[in-house]
Amino acid sequence: MSTPTATGTRLANDALAARLTARFSGLASDEAYGELTVHADAATLVDLLTFCRDDDAVGCELLADLSGVHWPRGGHDIELQPTTTGWPTFRLSQEEGRVEVLYVLRSIRHGHVLRIAVAVDDEDPRLPTATGVYETANFHEREVYDFLGVEFDGHPDLTRILMPDDWVGHPHRKDYPLGGVDVPYKHDKHVPPPDERAIREVIR
């Protein structure tokens, strides 16, 4: 990888998408709010990331961000508003729950940004690691594992990063119980957590 300079050419979103689909056929992409999102699957993810890093025209030296969003099974009341465009269908009605992992790539020499979205089943979320392509993915993947339970195959040290090591569950999932941690009170009084309490139940 050559040392980047600020002399590259910024590709427009459609040119960027064309460049990627020319190499990876059948790659879906959408553009919303001026941002390009490319929808990859787990099998092509590492190849796609490697291509984005090594290709001269795409040239993304920096994995700017790696995060996850949980879309549980069932219907979501997504209020469709006029500005909502390019919204993939699986987000509207869901047969299966998904965890969507988002890779934001930034090209410093060209100046463009693109997002790669990979949706995995939320029952057993599993993705290949990106640490072989971008080393910075190490902490990010540990965070996504910690909060959403996505297992990254091949990660050098996939342990919890922000939550305690013995924590049960993945707090950023939408099915994670809110207030589900028992609070110990004096004299062994048992107060159930808020989501297990009946409405207006008074505990004395």
Binding site: M1, T3, P4, A6, A32, Y33, G34, E35, T37, E61, L62, L63, A64, D65, S67, G68, V69, H70, H76, D77, I78, E79, L80, Q81, P82, T83, T84, W87, L102, V104, R106, I108, G111, V113, R115, Y134, E135, T136, N138, F139, H140, R160, I161, L162, M163, P164, P171, H172, L178
Partner: protein, 457 residues
């Protein structure tokens, strides 16, 4: 394999007996160390530990309460003698679940949470979040609000770098720098307090503009600061630039080159000190910052000293930006006109000591029932934001601060993920300290400038 474990008093007793060569405990200990064994020592004299360990790898916990680890950072050091062979940052001690909490509050309340993440650059957190929400809403803050945002965030950059200088100086033994740094920062916080009411965690930048119009003396206060700061920053340079201790401790320590920095996701002053002049204010300008003239300082050494010179120069460049922004400060509102988003932002101090907007109150209470209903809805459930995903990033004092915001069209965010520069930059600590001495770990961590509120979120 034999496990030999020594605890506090036992270790001390072993040390007392260490002089006698035929001591059975120490003999057993040494015999154990010939094979693969672990020695666990707490609270013993260093000399006795070193004597027992001899040339084995020593694992030492630094932190989480170590005063020079910037809060609650725990570093596990693997030492070969005095040389660091590996460093593992253990984080999460300050995790507060801000991202999760924000999913259960409305969009405006989000600023109150995110401003508390990186507590040394609260305005940048607010700005990045609000720019993202504004992109989803399809609105743009009025020019006056944009200019005030630039002025305040650049002052915040100076304040943050001053704290870096103060704490970094203190960690390297220069308490004078500590008092000077915090002293100047106080004056900047005074400005923030006069505008937002709070010295930190302001929640002053809101989706659509600012929480309130700036005060009448805002420009005068800012100019007084601009007159004061250059001389004071010169004082830091007089104290440190040629200082032999400062040079010896920082030069050649914690070197990272551009290629490794990019692979590890390192941005901000660390990347610029390595030689790449990447600055989001240049490549992805926000709030009209492209209309101001400023330089992006770089260095080529990539060591801790280069980070010092880059940060000092950044403070000067921030003042240049503020100077121009003050000269061209536009008049007009500081909040978008759309009443479905805008809370009243032209408040005045009333006779009762409370801030209110008399014209707005007259309108909703006396003139329009619909306006009252709107105000009620806005204050209780908040506004809705169109569904979609955005990633909005600003150049915070520590690097690229990005907000990945997902909305499903309701009055609350579905998910907000924060790309924290402290969190990402901390990964590079392992590489930057390898082969250095234990004392250099302090210098390297100080030069990374991690803020644990941002790392742990």
């Amino acid at each position: 394999m034999s496990d030999t474990t020594l605890h506090g008093t036992e270790a001390a007793e072993a040390a007392d007996r260490a002089t006698s060569a035929d001591d059975p405990t120490l003999a057993a200990l040494r015999a154990g160390l010939e094979g693969e064994s672990e020695l666990f020592v707490e609270g013993a004299d260093w000399e006795s530990v070193a004597d027992a360990v001899r040339d084995e790898t020593l694992i030492v916990n630094m932190g989480p309460q170590h005063p020079s680890t910037h809060g609650v950072l725990r570093l596990v050091l693997e030492l070969d003698g005095e040389t660091v062979t590996n460093l593992t940052p253990i984080i999460g001690y300050l995790h507060t679940g801000i991202e999760k909490s924000a999913e259960y509050r409305n969009w405006v309340q989000g600023t109150t949470f995110f401003t508390r993440m990186d507590y040394l650059s609260p305005l940048f957190n607010e700005l990045a979040y609000c720019l993202g929400v504004e992109r989803l809403l399809g609105v743009e803050a009025p020019p006056r609000a944009q200019a005030v945002r630039v002025i305040l965030t650049e002052f915040n950059r100076i304040a943050s770098h001053l704290v870096w200088l103060a704490t970094g100086g203190m960690e390297l033994g220069s308490t004078t720098v500590m008092t000077y740094g915090f002293r100047e920062r106080e004056h900047i916080l005074d400005l923030f307090e006069s505008q937002s009411g709070l010295r930190m965690n302001h929640a002053y930048i809101r989706p659509g503009g600012l929480a309130n119009e700036v005060t009448d003396d805002f420009v005068a206060r800012a100019e007084a600061l601009l007159r004061r700061l250059p001389e004071k920053i010169g004082e830091f340079e007089d104290l440190l630039t040629e200082n032999p201790i400062w040079n010896d401790r920082l030069r050649g320590v914690g070197v990272i080159d551009v290629e490794r920095a990019l692979a590890l996701g390192v941005t901000g002053p660390l990347l610029r000190a390595a030689g790449l002049g990447h600055d989001l204010r240049r490549t992805d300008p926000y709030c009209g910052i492209e209309q101001y003239d400023f330089d992006v300082p770089t260095d080529t050494a990539g060591d801790s000293y280069a980070r010092y010179t880059v940060r000092i120069e950044e403070m000067r460049q921030s003042m240049r930006i503020i100077r121009q922004a003050l000269d061209t400060l536009p008049s007009g509102p500081v909040m978008v006109a759309d009443r479905r988003i805008a809370m009243p932002s032209q408040q005045q101090l009333g006779a009762d000591g409370m801030g209110n907007d008399p014209a707005y109150i007259r309108h909703i209470m006396g003139e329009s029932m619909e306006a009252l209903i709107n105000h009620f809805k806005l204050s209780t459930e908040g506004f809705t934001v169109p569904a979609g995903q955005v990633y909005s990033a600003v150049e915070s004092p520590r690097g690229e601060l990005g907000y990945a915001i997902t909305s499903i069209g309701s009055n609350k965010p579905w998910r907000v993920h924060v790309r924290e520069p402290s969190f990402v930059n901390l990964q590079a600590a392992r590489e930057m300290t390898r082969g250095h001495q234990v004392a250099d770990v302090i210098a390297v961590v100080a030069s990374i400038d991690p803020v644990m509120g941002g790392v742990d979120r």
